[in-house]
């Protein structure tokens, strides 16, 4: 009798703890998002997102951070396109060309997982070292290269996951009709399209928020870059640099930039979840 009671109590105790932990996680999400949204919306104005920094911007005079928004879009857009071009063939190669037991596939997956874990500041430092080696200065091009390298592992990992459960019968059907493996790519791409979309949103979300890697490589500027060799501002760095200013008006801009960044990331994240749940049958 006593044993049963004690195990009931233990059960209840841990159940309460678990509920509390889950609630805490939930509360943290709300706290982070709410803090940034409420503080940011107080500082937000139309000028912020439609104007470039004007004269005396950094002592609190007029202007906005359009430069950072456009810079971020340039870098993220370009690297997402390049990343997609490189990672789709790699995923296809890993899953269709190579056998399940292939050593190369194992090593490549391990390498991508490890690359995924490499901190972005190391990417930044390495990218910077390479740029110095090649004689490049901080530029849009440098930012695009480093961000591309940063998001390729994310692309590949998440698309690989979607492709691994890909039914082999479909491949066999395609081969049986006489298609080469390369021609079968069309079939596979159509099948894993939702996976590709989710991976893209995930990578874009990561790319747009990463500050440590672009700090060294893309630099910062008050104008919109007109060529690949000019430096480019980015949203996370706009938040970071302006927040370290002692002027309250400049800090306000940092909060507004943080709001814009958070909204973009929230939309991407919810969009990714939507695509996954709408277009794929399995998995929660």
């Amino acid at each position: 009798m006593n044993v049963i009671r004690s195990k009931r109590i233990e059960e209840l105790f841990f159940k309460v703890l678990m509920l509390a932990a889950t609630m805490l996680v939930f509360a943290l999400v709300i706290s982070v998002v709410w803090t940034v949204l409420s503080r940011g919306s107080r500082a937000m104005s139309w000028d912020m997102i439609t104007k470039l920094p004007g004269g005396g911007f950094y002592i609190g005079k007029e202007g906005g951070f359009l430069n950072a928004i456009v810079g971020s879009l340039y870098i993220v857009g370009a690297s997402a396109c390049i990343g997609l071009l490189i990672s789709v063939p790699v995923v296809f190669y890993l899953n269709v060309y190579l056998k399940k037991t292939s050593r190369l596939a194992y090593a490549a997956r391990l390498a991508f997982d490890v690359l995924f874990g490499v901190p972005s500041i190391v990417y930044g430092a390495f990218g910077f070292a390479i740029m110095v080696f090649l004689g490049l200065r901080t530029s849009l091009l440098g930012g695009i290269i480093v961000i591309t390298l940063l998001i390729i592992p994310i692309f590949i990992r998440s698309m690989d996951e979607a492709t691994r459960n890909f039914p082999h019968d479909i491949l066999d059907a395609s081969f049986a009709l006489g298609a080469t493996r390369w021609e079968t790519l069309k079939v596979v791409v159509r099948q894993i399209a939702p996976g590709i979309a989710t991976a893209t949103l995930l990578s874009v979300g990561r790319a747009i928020g990463d500050a440590a890697s672009v700090m060294f490589t893309a630099g910062y500027t008050d104008s919109i870059p007109t060529s690949l060799s000019q430096p480019a501002a980015t949203l996370p760095l706009a938040v970071f640099f302006q927040l370290s200013s002692p002027v309250p008006e400049v800090q306000d801009r940092a909060y507004a930039a943080a709001l814009v960044l958070t909204l973009i990331v929230l939309i991407l994240s919810i969009g990714g979840r939507f695509i996954t749940s709408r277009f794929s049958k399995n998995k929660l």
Partner: protein, 303 residues
Amino acid sequence: MPNRYEMIQRRILKDRVAQGTMCGLTVFAIVFLAAMAVGLYIKSVPVLENHSLFSLLGSSEWKPMKGEFGFLPFIAGTLWVTGLAIIMALPVSLLTGIYLTEYARPAVRKMVFPALDILAALPSVIYGVWGMLVIVPWISERVAPHFIEFSSGYTVLAAGIVLGVMVVPLLVSLFIEIFTNVPVELREASLALGATRWQTTRKVVLRKTIAGMLAATVLAVSRAMGETIAVLMVCGCVVGIPSHLLDACYPIPALIANNYGEMLSMPLYESALMFAALILFAVVLIFNLLSRIVLYRLERRSI
């Protein structure tokens, strides 16, 4: 028809070319990892030639102007912050992971998963803003006065809390993955013998996944170590070995990020910072390799 024969030849050729290209791209990933190590090493050779490895890692003299580079304060800062973050994040993530796999109804999961998604997706700099707006004032106004006279709030504790929140989604998702790999039959057997859910969890699920949980934790540690901007914004950035939780600290990633502008003007400084990146890279590489290999094994066994 020779025409048709040619067409097939061309298709096969296309397939071969594609295979070669894709193989090249895949191999490139492995080579890239090695290139990163070599590149960072080459860059840090000058500082390694001038100082012994022991003095670099073991000295706490940090005077770049005089060419003295002791990384001990930064290593200590990294260890403090990472340790604190993991100590706080681990129990919360473990309990949440267990709850979501073993207890929660699908409706609850549908609520919590998107929240975890958002937590994982938020950029580092946003966590930094949150830390500066919420955690730092809380520490300087509420927590610190109980213990010391004055604290700005930019402390090991603040960095630890922010970092802890940041690794929670990673840990929870890894735990969920590991726990769902445990066959349902094992749970059913235990429940049929009269064990409660918690007993089943503790004695079957947790015992069966110890290796996986360890690997997940190591992975989270390596992730926490490399976090830059959020930590940089709340850690205080004072060079020195922190002696307690309310001291400021200066982890390695913050050091690299903070000094990129001036590093080219001083001899050896750039090399020293590249060496810092190399340390970080080496630790993360080893941790990641070990834990991924363990996780792969587990995954394969469960299939």
